[in-house]
Symmetry: C2
Subunit: 240 residues, 2 copies
């Protein structure tokens, strides 16, 4: 049974992994700094541990174990640990801050900008990320992401998949939850949105964790409203 898209007015997107290839971008920036410092290391491992620090941070905030802090702040905490672990010393504060902002300079997946631009012609398109507003705005400038609106967990004071984040997005847009479709490469995020009445779209990103990594979801749950293997197929299924 095909999903009736006519009730959907806005599409909000998970960003890290769904819209941008965080892992390749971070590996590139970190290894360049390592080379400059004359340090070699497992840069894939560096990227994965950096990402894990953020995931753990958002979980701790969601569970009330820590007060709210932004993605930039969580990235910096973990970065300081990793620089130490990898023996990367001698960076100035400005250089460290610039490296921390590598998360503002993540490359879009090759089909993302074209797909988003098509979707924007019919729908309001926005982020719904756990990244902070400034990070997401800088990333959009860097990658040419044509968002109509930048929505984040920061505006709800907590993180996905807390229901408050999905509901705040619909409320800020002045829409009913069922008029908003959460779109992500991660079923967990989509199920969180569905629980409070949002519609759901899945776009597979098989290379998010490295080519061939078993961590990527190639398929999603059958309860998800629209599933596609890429942005162009997704746009077609959304009738644009």
């Amino acid at each position: 049974m095909s999903f009736d898209v006519s009730q959907v007015k806005a599409l909000v997107f998970d960003v890290f992994g769904t819209v941008v290839d965080w892992r390749s971008s971070i590996i590139r920036e970190v290894s360049a700094v390592g080379e400059r410092l004359g340090v070699s290391g497992d840069w894939e491992g560096f990227a994965d541990r950096w990402r894990a620090g953020y995931s753990e941070g958002t979980r701790d905030v969601r569970e009330g174990k820590r007060p709210f802090l932004t993605a930039d702040e969580m990235h910096r905490e973990r970065l300081d640990l990793l620089l130490d672990d990898f023996g990367m010393t001698g960076l100035s504060e400005a250089e460290t801050d610039y490296l921390n902002q590598a998360w503002h300079r993540l490359d879009p997946w090759p089909d993302a900008v074209e797909g988003l631009t098509r979707l924007k012609s019919k729908y309001v398109i926005g982020t719904l990320s756990n990244g902070n507003v400034g990070l997401l705005v800088n990333m959009a400038k860097y990658g040419g992401l044509p968002w109509d609106v930048v929505l984040t967990g920061q505006l709800a004071g907590t993180y996905k998949p807390d229901p408050k984040v999905y509901l705040s997005a619909a409320s800020l847009l002045g829409l009913e939850p069922g008029e908003v479709m959460m779109t992500a490469a991660h079923t967990n995020d989509l199920l969180g949105a569905a629980k409070v009445g949002l519609r759901t779209g899945f776009i597979a990103r098989p290379d998010e964790f490295g080519v061939g990594s078993p961590k990527a979801e190639l398929e999603t749950d059958e309860s998800i409203d629209v599933a596609a293997s890429g942005y162009i197929e997704f746009a077609e299924k959304m009738s644009v």
Copy 2:
């Protein structure tokens, strides 16, 4: 003495009157509804009284006399009164809601989209309005306003010129107040921003209150950082 623009990273704009011609747009929509209902009236007066309801509402929220309510909600309150006063009866709930959303369908000033598009090539550009997020997003789709980010009093839980609104914009963007320029056709708004460290830009909109109305500010205070007679001159003064 010319202002050094190199420290400015983001420009945030007042919207009603500064970017869009609210008054002509509202007069057009209201008079069309009047004609359909066979009612004649002072539609300029209708538009001005509708606008005044919003101004009074934001003031009451700022002064703590009322709990926070959105621009859409304030518009609807005043609209219901005005429809009654003007003897405009017989609109369905859907028609009334559509008319209330006339504030989502305001025409940009003729030079605004070109100027904003130029400014966007060098700066982050965003709204900083007392309108709600949904209203501003719909207006941007309607008028082709190329915002990077939609910031509003709603995100700070109060209204300009409360200092919290200006500071929340800088904070959400991850910038220092002095890296953000508030831009408006209204000196009061700019002085509110300057008080908490934002830079200030003035763009004269002489026709906001009707051609030749003395209510418009043709010039601004000498403390304002950059003043221009239109968007193109403003972009040039901002070195784009």
